[in-house]
């Protein structure tokens, strides 16, 4: 009924949380996601990290990141659940598929633009190894050239 989108969920728990509690939390997320027919693509435990500011008089927290695929309705439920759980001091849900797709498009566009430019100049579409090497050296020279031009203006 609804389209599947990709989201990222980050939640922070107090630093003294036990392994079991952490696993239980993860299970709760899995359960909600499963109910909405979503999948968890990746789970990353960042471990204990210093917080940039105090939350509930705590200076540290355990961060967990989950990359989730699922429908939008899942988010409301996930958000509601996480809000209620005492073990989660902070959480954030962000939709990422659009931005990632945009980044992919930008990369593809740049690549094809470069290939087109090269073909117009009568070169093979992909730069060769030796060219890449030479360009790296030229780049160093260019920086000096830039400064000079800047000073001239």
């Amino acid at each position: 009924m609804s389209t599947v989108r990709q989201y990222e969920l980050v939640y922070i728990t107090p630093p003294e949380i036990t392994e079991e509690a952490l696993a239980d939390l993860h299970q709760q997320v899995v359960a909600v996601v499963g109910r909405f027919g979503g999948t968890i693509e990746k789970t990353e435990n960042w471990g204990r990290r210093k917080l940039a500011y105090e939350i509930n008089h705590q200076r540290e927290g355990v961060y967990v990141l989950e990359v989730i695929n699922g429908p939008g309705a899942m988010l409301a439920e996930l958000d509601r659940r996480l809000r209620v759980i005492d073990q989660v001091v902070r959480h954030m849900l962000v939709r990422v598929d659009e931005d990632l797709a945009k980044a992919d498009r930008a990369r593809a566009r740049r690549k094809s633009a470069m290939a087109a430019r090269r073909v117009r100049r009568g070169l093979p579409p992909e730069p060769t190894e030796t060219e890449l090497h030479r360009r790296r050296e030229e780049d160093d020279d260019l920086e000096g050239g830039d400064t000079f031009r800047g000073g001239d203006r």
Binding site: A52, R90, F148, G151
Partner: protein
């Protein structure tokens, strides 16, 4: 703000301002030069993630505010992306709202 200040921070100002400063400063320009290029364009970073604190850190000065692009030289498109990334990072305490 003096010319000196402006150059030191790599401020661009308008085209007119630049010309005036350039004439006055002359040789000094090269000394205080700052490459006015967008870091994200140069390094071809398409997606600015809120999770990458190392990437965001240079754009968050001491005070915790977001550095204006007139100073950092970031292009408008990337400044917008950077802004959302920093604001998200703040929400999950990866980056401070304020530091005093």
């Amino acid at each position: 703000m003096s010319d000196f200040d402006r150059e030191g921070r790599g401020g661009r100002g308008g085209a007119g301002g630049k010309g005036a400063a350039g004439e006055k400063a002359g040789g000094r320009r090269t000394f205080f030069r700052r490459r006015r290029v967008c870091k994200f364009c140069v390094e071809k970073i398409d997606y600015i993630s809120y999770k990458d604190v190392k990437l965001l850190a240079p754009f968050i000065p001491e005070r915790g505010k977001i550095q204006p692009r007139r100073i950092s030289g970031v292009c408008a498109t990337h400044q917008r992306a950077l802004q959302t990334a920093i604001k998200r990072a703040r929400q999950i305490a990866l980056v401070p709202y304020v530091t005093d």
